[in-house]
């Protein structure tokens, strides 16, 4: 048997899990909670390793290579180090809120994974409003960040937290509007149904939606060029300036869990999730998640940071109108072609995206920013 046939067979076997796998109600919960926890922790460690090594290569240096073979144990070493650090609470800080903030930030990031389909039907709960649930849950994380900024009693923290809230509130709108386009095409809010509807990955049918979602989501999880709330060169470490030890580690974990969730959501919404030829579905899911993550840290290593007013202007003057236009065009297409979208729409949509982006880059300018004082 050739390798191709083996992997075909494997893929077939895994995809055909019995519908009640892995058993009764409580078994299902237990197994999936454990799977999600292990998946998140392992993937976060892998992401940290990949990002540090990858950034090293992109920046013409080696990256960490001391702990273990090829530095694979670097995240473990970091984790041990940070766990052994002293936990410091600012003297005039709000102790309870300071303690609660990392938890409030971490829990929603983890809860997103409840509706991410790792492969066909393999998810904790197949909510029929899956994507709506994600949108609702993910914005709670901003609360944790703001609590951290407030409780630290530090001006840098407060500045970072204010930036985060302003940014998250602004970018939520184009984010949701770009998701709405996907939902329209898929005809369902359930994450698993959205994947099932993607015989063509939605990145092709919704190219503009993908771009808007990617940028808005990067702003949501505070990755460059929207990493204003922890802008190292300006406000030191932003909201977690006053955090140390385990609580700092938790914020670090939140950051990467959110990025992992973002990669998983993009994979599910736009890259046809676990679907793919030859390889088993879970592997496809992983490959796509890692590819999206690579894109994210590639961007991080390449471009400088925007300023806060430019970030806002970008959300309201550029992403929001584009997202509305995208939603409108998608709606028109759905109404005009109720029996499913034909393949040539891919080219039409890409052409529309190119025209819109050209228009906006011609007429839309960030800049200004000086205030008379």
């Amino acid at each position: 048997m050739t390798i191709v046939e083996t992997s075909l067979g494997l893929g077939g076997r895994l995809a055909a899990l019995p519908p009640d796998w892995p058993g009764g109600y409580w078994w299902h919960w237990l197994v999936f909670v454990v799977i999600i926890l292990i998946f998140v922790v392992v993937m976060v460690m892998a992401f940290i390793y990949m990002e540090r090594r990858g950034l090293g290569r992109l920046q013409a240096r080696l990256g960490p290579n001391r702990a273990g073979p090829f530095g694979i144990l670097q995240p473990v070493a970091d984790a041990i180090k940070v766990l052994l650090k002293e936990d410091i609470i600012p003297a005039k800080g709000d102790k309870l809120v300071h303690w609660l903030a990392p938890v409030v930030a971490f829990v929603p990031a983890l809860m997103i994974f409840a509706v991410i389909p790792f492969q066909d039907g393999a998810l904790l709960v197949d909510l029929n409003i899956g994507i709506l649930y994600i949108v609702a849950i993910s914005s709670v994380a901003a609360l944790g960040v703001f609590m951290a900024g407030w409780a630290s009693n530090n001006k840098f923290s407060l500045l970072g937290a204010m930036r985060d809230v302003a940014q998250v509130v602004s970018y939520e709108i184009p984010l949701i509007l770009s998701i709405a386009g996907v939902v329209l095409v898929a005809g369902s809010l359930s994450m698993n149904k959205i994947v099932e509807a993607q015989s063509v990955p939605f990145i092709l049918l919704q190219p503009l939606g993908f771009l808007i979602f990617f940028m808005a989501a990067c702003a949501e999880v505070n990755r460059t060029p929207f990493d204003l709330l922890e802008a190292e060169s300006e406000i030191v470490a932003g909201f977690h300036t006053e955090y140390s030890g385990m609580k700092f580690a938790l914020f670090y974990l939140v950051e990467y869990t959110e990025v992992l969730a973002l990669s998983a959501i993009i994979t599910t919404l736009f890259l046809s999730g676990w679907r793919g030829p030859l390889l088993p579905p879970f592997l496809w899911f992983l490959i796509k998640v890692v590819a999206v993550f690579f894109l994210i840290f590639w961007v991080r290593s390449t471009i400088p940071r925007l300023r806060i007013d430019q970030v806002m202007a970008f959300a309201w003057k550029c992403l929001l109108p584009l997202a509305l236009i995208n939603l409108f065009i998608t709606g028109l297409e759905i109404v005009a072609l109720p029996d499913g979208l034909p393949w040539f729409l891919i080219f039409v949509n890409i052409a529309i995206m190119a025209v819109l982006i050209l228009l906006w880059s011609r007429f839309f300018r960030l800049g200004g920013g000086r205030v008379e004082v």
């Binding site: 400088p304 940071r305 300023r307 806060i308 920013g369 004082v373």
Partner: protein, 367 residues
């Protein structure tokens, strides 16, 4: 209901990731807007001017290394020029050419760090500065060849330079000079059309021409504001009158102009090094000077175009073996005095970017 707001004071520094050392910006912020800014410096004061009064004329040279530690060669050069003026020493031709080569290499190295650090301050995550450091390493290797040091060179001497160059230096320099323009083009391609860099740097932190002249700014800060002033042309020292090079200038005086001027100056420096290599004569590298130099009573001021601006040394001699007074005109300090006018009304992020675009070195500001 109108929400009442009030400005608050935020201390950026003295220990802060992007103050390039221990500099403190006591900013008054209204939200994100910088209402007022007071630069506070002196955290790195080591009393170099006073220490110089206790040392022999030659013994002061290592102290000058510690001024602008990113451009030690230039500091050496400015100081020995002042002593030579005071003592009336002549310098052999070969030494003059070696000095020019070293000073121009140093200018490239310093500008690489300046551009990289500026982009770091703009929020590019370490990538530009590490690319710049990659090339700077090659310059440091060259310096390592001629004087055995990578940061504090102590290479120039009164009446010449300390050693002649080793045999492998010129081939290595030739290789570097041939490859460097390609690298500069690479940086240009990577950065020039970057939309985010443009919106962050264009029109930001404008230093008007008149103000730049009034505060006696120098170097890329002055030239970025559109003033065609370069001491290498205006008051040629060493053998700079024998080389052909242009003075790049900006137009508006914003962060982007200063950045462009630095990139162009690196190209011009490569040009000068090429010419100096072609013209490099043979001969001695150090004229006969007494071990303890006792210049006649008098005073001298020598200035050079250091990477960061006009670096001047003012020496007073009382015919003893140590300078009676050694005053340093540090370009970083003088360029820094414009910071408040440049950042008022801009956001915190702009204040940091503007500060980075001035390119200061705290070792020189505080002395």
């Amino acid at each position: 209901m109108a929400i009442k707001t009030e400005p608050f004071v935020l201390n950026l520094g003295p220990v802060h990731p992007s103050t390039h050392g221990v500099f403190r910006m006591r900013t008054t912020l209204d939200g994100e807007v910088v209402v007022d800014m007071e630069p506070v410096f002196g955290y790195l004061h080591r009393g170099i001017e006073k220490l110089a009064e206790e040392r022999t004329y030659t013994g002061v040279i290592p102290l000058t290394d510690r001024l602008d530690y990113l451009a030690s060669m230039s500091n050496n050069l400015a100081y020995v020029l002042a002593v030579e003026k005071l003592a009336g020493t002549t310098v052999p031709e070969r030494a003059e050419y070696l000095r020019v080569i070293m000073a121009e290499l140093q200018r490239i190295a310093s500008h690489l760090i300046a551009v990289g650090a500026f982009l770091n301050d703009c929020g590019a995550f370490m990538t530009p500065i590490l690319y710049m450091i990659r090339e700077r390493e090659k310059i440091l290797d060259l310096f390592d060849m001629v004087c055995g040091q990578r940061l504090t060179y102590n290479y120039m001497r009164v009446g010449g330079v300390s050693h002649d160059i080793p045999d492998e230096f010129l081939p290595a320099l030739d290789k570097f000079v041939r490859r460097m323009p390609g690298f500069i083009d690479e940086y240009d391609r990577l950065l020039e059309k970057n939309e985010i860099l443009l919106v962050r740097a264009k029109g930001v932190g404008i230093l008007p021409k008149e103000l730049a002249i009034n505060i006696s700014a120098g170097g890329p800060v002055l030239r970025g504001s559109g003033v065609k002033w370069d001491i290498r042309k205006a008051d040629p020292y060493s053998v700079y009158d024998r080389f052909e090079f242009d003075i790049p200038t900006g137009t508006v005086g914003d962060c982007y102009d200063r950045y462009r001027v630095r990139i162009e100056e690196m190209r011009q420096s490569v040009r000068i090094i090429k010419q100096a290599m072609e013209q490099l004569p043979l001969g001695a590298v150090k004229s006969e000077v007494p071990h303890l130099i006792r210049p006649p009573v008098g005073e001298a001021y020598a200035h050079i175009e250091a990477p960061k601006g006009e670096l001047g040394f003012y020496l007073v001699s009382d015919n003893s073996i140590a300078p009676y007074r050694c005053a340093i005109r540090a370009p970083s300090l003088i360029n820094l005095t414009a910071l408040r006018d440049m950042v008022r009304g801009w956001k915190v992020a702009d204040a940091i970017a503007t500060f980075g675009s001035i390119d200061i070195c705290m070792g020189e500001v505080d002395r």
